[in-house]
Amino acid sequence: MFLAIKEIKREKLRYGLIILMIFLISYLIFILSALATGLASENTQALESWNAQKVILNINANVSMSQSILTKSDLKKDALTKDEALVGQIPVVVKNSKRPQISAQFIGIKKEQFIYHDQELIAGRRAKKNNEVTVDQAFKTKGYQLGDKLALNGSAKKYRIVGFIKNAKINIAPIIYGTLQSWKKLRQGMPTLRASAIVSRNPDYKYNYQNCKTYPIDQFIKKLPGYTAQNMTFELMIGFLYVISLIIIAVFLYILTMQKMHNYAVMRAQGIPSSTLVKATISQALILVLAGLIIGLIATMITIKVLPAAVPISFTPKIILTGTIGLLVTAIIGSLIPVRSILKVDPAQAIGE
């Protein structure tokens, strides 16, 4: 550590440039990870707030809640316990003469079931009547207010906002919670129509009656439109960044080590063990990465503060921990390449030069 710190202090420009590069990589990793998490969360926020473990859909709906239809004949009388809720989903376009038009997802629920009671209100109250709705906070951000009346999919019927809810998004669209009765009207379906799905918070729940099929929540999320492709794209980019950082750290440390071979030979001649030089190289890599990481963290936090609220970004402790451990491991692996050269230094080279 002593040699590592002293050398970095002496060669500020050289090591400053390496720190700059590691900072840029870590900044990019943090921002991309936060964006990936933010976007993924906007796909699944509602499911998480419901603590959903199983989703029961029509077997022919291709694991899509908005395309699923459960009819009266699909639902046994004892199908639902207190851990299950009927959900009706339909995409809607929201219009209000004074406010911007918004594409949203209407979710019809029942007052006596858990989703209704678990709604996390940030203003107003829960909807009680068929013409009342509670909406995601995104509506508030776009200027909507309590009492505003909404026309959904061009219908003549108006729905009044009575509450704003935290974390209510699905498929990256804000949710409008109303009654199952309202959903049926919007769906304009047959009279036997009951819901789109059953959502259960019981991990052991299974219901495969008639046209119904039970899906674990992970399988349901993976089938959300675009979710897997979007996550894989981000994972690929982040993975490449780790590989690039590994190459940069390894190449820079290797070049620097090669330039110092004579110094190492002199130190070895003076009896300084190889282990001291190896420790210095590894700790140097760790110091450089830590410095770059800390600056990257600060820059990410500042960036997130100044980004518009509409940007779906979520910088969680898990991202910080994963990014930090990932880059530190990368630094250790990168420093092992020059370490091989250090172990081969012949102290006799120090003589006669």
Partner: protein, 224 residues
């Protein structure tokens, strides 16, 4: 009594047609308090002699005795320890760590060898004697060649070795500095009771030596 002795030492590089005999039946000894010069032209085997005496490489045959121990075939770890505790090196150039201030060169010794160094008070005295006590906050490249050489001597002596091995210590010095360094080695050998082996082709150092050996084609002969 000799503190370092080489008995019938041979060093052979390569095999077959490419074989080179760098040292032939070398017999040499030096005692504490002495300055011993090993002289000879380039290619005579001086550097090989120094690497074997300094436990930087092993002889093909013969014995290298430091104190009362044959170090000819000790392990790398033991060899490192020996160079750290009993052998000091003053090398031709760049023998100070370039990114450490002069005072930090001694700190580095403290980090790897926690006991047996000469201590702060004696170091101050040594630096004063070498005339570099005001330069301890400088980096090696901020010093002249002579100052760097004296700092290297101080660094080598700080670990309190019994034997000091110097490789062409006056190679980059002018005559005035050569005299200064020569006198210094003589004084240090007596005052600090060290055996100082100077490998050089600089005849200006002869007047400061207690014994002079000459090397030619891998053979050694005592001149005086």
């Amino acid at each position: 009594m000799a503190i370092i002795e080489l008995k019938n030492v041979q060093k052979v590089y390569g095999t077959g047609a490419a074989q080179v005999v760098a040292l032939k039946n070398i017999n040499f000894k030096a005692s504490l308090g002495e300055v011993v010069l090993i002289m000879g032209p380039s290619g005579a085997g001086k550097s090989t002699f120094l690497t074997i005496a300094g436990s930087l490489q092993k002889p093909t045959a013969g014995k290298v005795i430091v104190g009362s121990r044959d170090i000819a075939h000790i392990s790398t770890r033991e060899s490192d320890r020996l160079r750290l505790t009993q052998l000091g090196f003053v090398l031709q150039a760049y023998n100070l760590v370039p990114f450490l201030k002069i005072k930090e060169q001694f700190e580095l010794v403290n980090k790897v060898k926690k006991e047996g160094n000469i201590g702060a008070a004696k170091l101050q005295e040594l630096l004063k004697q070498l005339g570099i006590s005001s330069l301890i906050d400088k980096y090696p490249n901020e010093l002249s060649g002579g100052q760097q050489q004296r700092a290297a001597i101080a660094r080598a002596l700080y670990a309190n070795p019994q034997i000091l091995l110097a490789d062409e210590p006056t190679a980059s010095l002018d005559s005035e500095n050569v005299a200064e360094v020569g006198q210094l080695f003589k004084k240090l050998a007596k005052d600090y009771h060290k055996a100082i082996l100077l490998v050089t082709h600089d005849p200006r150092l002869e007047q400061y030596a207690d014994h002079i050996y000459e090397m030619m084609d891998g053979k050694i002969k005592q001149k005086s």
